[in-house]
């Protein structure tokens, strides 16, 4: 349970409910912050630091489902556990289809809330991990020079050095040097790793669209 270090955002317009949830989560050993409405939460500078969100559907400004849609558009969205006073089936279905971890009804046993939160934190942790990996790869890809990019594109397409050289109008030896630089900068050992990484970071599609 190393993930519990991530904070949980509690969004509920009812102050005593909000307070009680925060207290419960803290008692269970989670970090938790309370927000009275969607606006307050969205105003937070780095939403990414939240492990998950415990969200009421009825909020004074944005409805919980709308907030969920807004968060989806971010790079990284913390997973959401809904908890509501009067949920109906269509609402539940919508929330679950949009990727909510759970949909709870007030009043709800602490056990269920905590279990849902833990699951959400795990999912959040995985998501963040993936997000971080991807971000690292992106950063490395960005550090390549334009020429190295072109060479990488050729490699990913499965061209030989000679063909790349002919395409770029440079000599084969230079291509080899660029390729070695790319391998080094991307931190991979084998050609297969390079191709997989480049594909994940979207280099392949980039070349496709170009040619």
């Amino acid at each position: 349970m190393t993930e519990t270090s991530a904070k949980i955002a509690v969004v509920d317009d009812d102050p005593s409910v909000r307070q009680a949830f925060v207290r419960l989560l803290r008692a269970a050993g989670h970090g938790a912050d309370a927000y009275a409405c969607a606006g307050d939460l969205l105003a937070h500078p780095s939403l990414g630091e939240f492990g998950c969100i415990l969200l009421d559907v009825d909020l004074p400004d944005l409805n919980g489902l709308e907030l969920q849609a807004t968060l989806e558009q971010l790079d990284y969205a913390p997973p959401i556990v809904f908890i509501t006073g009067h949920g109906d089936i269509p609402m539940t279905v919508r929330a679950m289809q949009a990727g909510a971890v759970d949909f709870l009804t007030k009043p709800c046993e602490a056990d269920r809330i905590l279990r849902a939160v833990v699951r959400a934190l795990q999912i959040g942790c995985e998501r963040r991990h993936q997000h971080e990996v991807l971000a690292g790869e992106r950063a490395r890809l960005d550090s390549l020079s334009p020429r190295e990019h072109e060479v990488l594109a050729g490699v990913v397409m499965g061209l030989r050095n000679k063909q790349i050289a002919a395409q770029l109008g440079i000599c084969e030896k230079t291509v080899k040097v660029h390729r070695a630089h790319v391998m080094e900068k991307m931190g991979v050992r084998s050609l297969a790793d390079l191709v997989r990484l480049a594909e994940r970071a979207g280099v392949g599609t980039e070349t496709d669209s170009r040619g």
Binding site: Q19, A20, R23, A27, A28, G85, H86, A110, I113
Partner: protein, 597 residues
């Protein structure tokens, strides 16, 4: 003396007498009008005149001739008097002076003929003058000679009365009563023709026989025929009207036998008219219905005037509702002859009205259910918040306690929050009760009796279906300020309870009476009294508590809701058992302010 003229005249007199009595018989049992009376008297006088005439022809001595001649003249004067008045009535003339003057003039001849020296003329007759009739018969001439001034005046009066008759006929013709006018004019023309011949003979200008009497016969015969035709026409018109009236029309004698039914009746019952005449209700309808109809008939006969009833009859397995007006038919002396009924089939309207009533009561019920549901769900939602908070707080507390070294400050905070949220939940529940008590109701000033009528109208079908006799006495001054829907629900509730309570009573013992009147404390008092099974002992208070019901299918919510509504209106409701069986539910509501003033 064994000729044929006097017997012929007796025959004529007999015919006139017959006409008079025939006419009288026709008129019997119908309202007598003056036309009938005058015509009857006219006929009698003609008969008398003709008898006197015949007597004169058979006279053996001058004294006898004088005797008969006097009666002859007196009767003739009377005939013309009655002719004038008959014409006036028959032709519908309005003036009284003309006929009155003529009558006076003519009447002067009655004593003149009977007493005055008029007879001297006869005594001076040297001998009886015989006259040979065209067919060879010899009769005594009874004409008066010589022609005196009295004669002249008499003829003048006769001609005037005939002229008046012609005038009446013409007037009638101009008014468009062609048939009547034609009969009158034809009769008068024949009469006048014969009289003219008489007159001419009298003057000695023509030597023919004196037969004016046959003119009377023509008059009497034609007029009798006219009157008879008229009464037959009137009957035909009446029958046509009766048969084509869309309602059922029938006439029953005192024993309930049908004397007359119209086509509508025949069609509905499905029995041809001739077969219906003489039958009674119990041959046509189920015994229960027939008995009910007879009861109504008897009530009409006892009351002696027209009464309107709501009647229900099973015909061909179908229960039909009628609005019936019944009235007694009286004979000339004012004794009842029978009952006439005019029934309108209102089954379709009734059914429609019943359906509307049922729908309305269903809507009322649905509305009540919906209100409770809405309230329930909104309350449930409101309660979820504090409950969620309490639960979460309590569990957080438990978590903290399970750890080593729990912070007492935090524990206190938690418990304080639990208490606060608990109070909040209580407030919500209090609010709900308040809402139920006052509701979001709109109160208006309304006549309590009107509300009762409205509800009873909805329930009319139910009341009828269950055979309940419903009495209402609604004071027209009890204004109250209430939520119409809520109080309507209460009234409907009470009425339905009363109807349900009478379900197992025999059909003739189901009585519901609803009254509204101000009580001595200045409140409007509504009383619903039934003849049902009454309340079980010690239940009179418990029935107003929720979830207590004396009915097999009851929820036990009706009276509880009623009580909360009535109390929210500042009133009171209670129930008692009647000493003679059944229960009475009473409620009081404060009167509207301006009604107290």
């Amino acid at each position: 003396m064994d000729g044929i003229l006097p017997p012929a005249l007796y025959l004529l007199a007999g015919a006139c007498l017959y006409a008079a009595f025939h006419h009288a018989a026709k008129v019997r049992g119908r309202p007598l009008n003056w036309t009938h009376l005058w015509f009857f008297l006219l006929c009698l006088m003609v008969a008398g005149h003709v008898v006197a005439k015949a007597g004169g022809y058979q006279a053996q001595s001058a004294e006898e001739i004088v005797f008969w001649r006097r009666w002859d003249t007196a009767f003739a004067a009377m005939v013309f008097i009655f002719l004038v008045w008959f014409v006036r009535e028959y032709a519908g003339l309005r003036s009284v002076w003309g006929p009155a003057l003529l009558s006076l003039l003519l009447f002067a001849f009655v004593p003149l003929a009977m007493l005055l020296p008029h007879g001297v003329v006869f005594t001076e007759l040297p001998a009886m003058i015989d006259h040979t009739l065209p067919w060879g018969e010899q009769v005594t001439d009874i004409r008066v000679r010589p022609f005196t001034n009295a004669h002249g005046a008499g003829w003048f009066a006769v001609l005037m009365s005939l002229a008046y008759g012609l005038y009446g006929g013409v007037q009638q013709y101009r008014r468009g009563e062609y048939t009547r006018a034609r009969w009158l004019l034809v009769a008068l023309a024949v009469f006048l023709l014969l009289l003219t011949i008489n007159f001419v003979e009298d003057l000695g200008l023509l030597d023919f026989f004196y037969v004016g009497e046959f003119g009377f016969l023509a008059l009497v015969f034609l007029m009798n025929r006219a009157l008879e035709l008229e009464s037959r026409m009137a009957r035909q018109h009446m029958e046509a009207v009766i048969h084509h009236v869309p309602a059922l029309v029938y006439l029953k004698d005192l024993k309930g036998r049908f004397l007359l039914v119209n086509r509508g009746f025949e069609d509905l019952v499905g029995v041809p008219r001739p077969a219906l005449i003489g039958r009674t209700d119990d041959k046509l309808f189920p015994p229960v219905d027939a008995e009910r109809l007879r009861v109504n008939d008897r009530r009409v006969l006892e009351s002696g005037h027209a009464v309107e009833f709501d009647e229900m009859v099973n015909i061909g397995g179908e229960a039909l509702s009628f609005v019936t007006l019944k009235f007694p038919i009286l004979d000339v002396d004012g004794r009842p002859l029978g009952v006439c009924g005019i029934s309108t089939n209102v089954s379709a309207e009734r059914e429609l009205k019943d359906q509307i009533g049922t729908l309305k009561s269903q809507v009322w019920h649905a509305d009540r259910v919906a209100r409770v549901q809405t309230l329930g769900s909104s309350v449930a939602h409101e309660l979820r918040q504090p409950l969620a908070a309490i639960l979460a707080n309590a569990e957080a507390g438990l978590h903290l306690l399970s750890r080593e070294g729990a912070d007492p400050t935090e524990m206190r905070d938690i418990l304080q929050d639990v208490v606060r949220d608990n109070r909040r939940a209580i407030r919500i529940i209090e609010g709900l009760r308040e809402m139920l008590r006052q509701g979001r109701s709109t109160r208006v000033r309304v006549l309590l009796g009107d509300l009762v009528s409205e509800v009873l109208d909805y329930l009319q079908g139910e009341v009828r279906r269950r055979g309940v006799v419903c009495e209402r006495s609604l004071d027209p001054s009890c204004f109250v300020v209430v939520d119409k829907v809520q109080i309507g629900q209460v009234i409907m509730n009470l009425a339905m309870n009363a109807l349900d309570a009478m379900e197992d009573r025999p059909i003739d013992q189901r009585q519901l009476s609803i009254s509204v009147q101000p009580d001595e404390a200045g409140q409007a008092c509504l009383t619903v009294r039934d003849s049902g099974s009454g309340l079980p002992p010690d239940a009179s208070e418990r029935i107003f508590e929720g979830l207590f019901s004396t009915k097999a299918r009851g929820l036990g919510m009706g009276l509880a809701l009623s009580r909360s509504i009535i109390e929210a209106h500042g009133g009171r409701i209670w129930a008692t058992n009647n000493p003679e069986g059944g229960a009475t539910v009473q409620l009081v509501l404060p009167l509207a302010d301006d009604a107290v003033r």
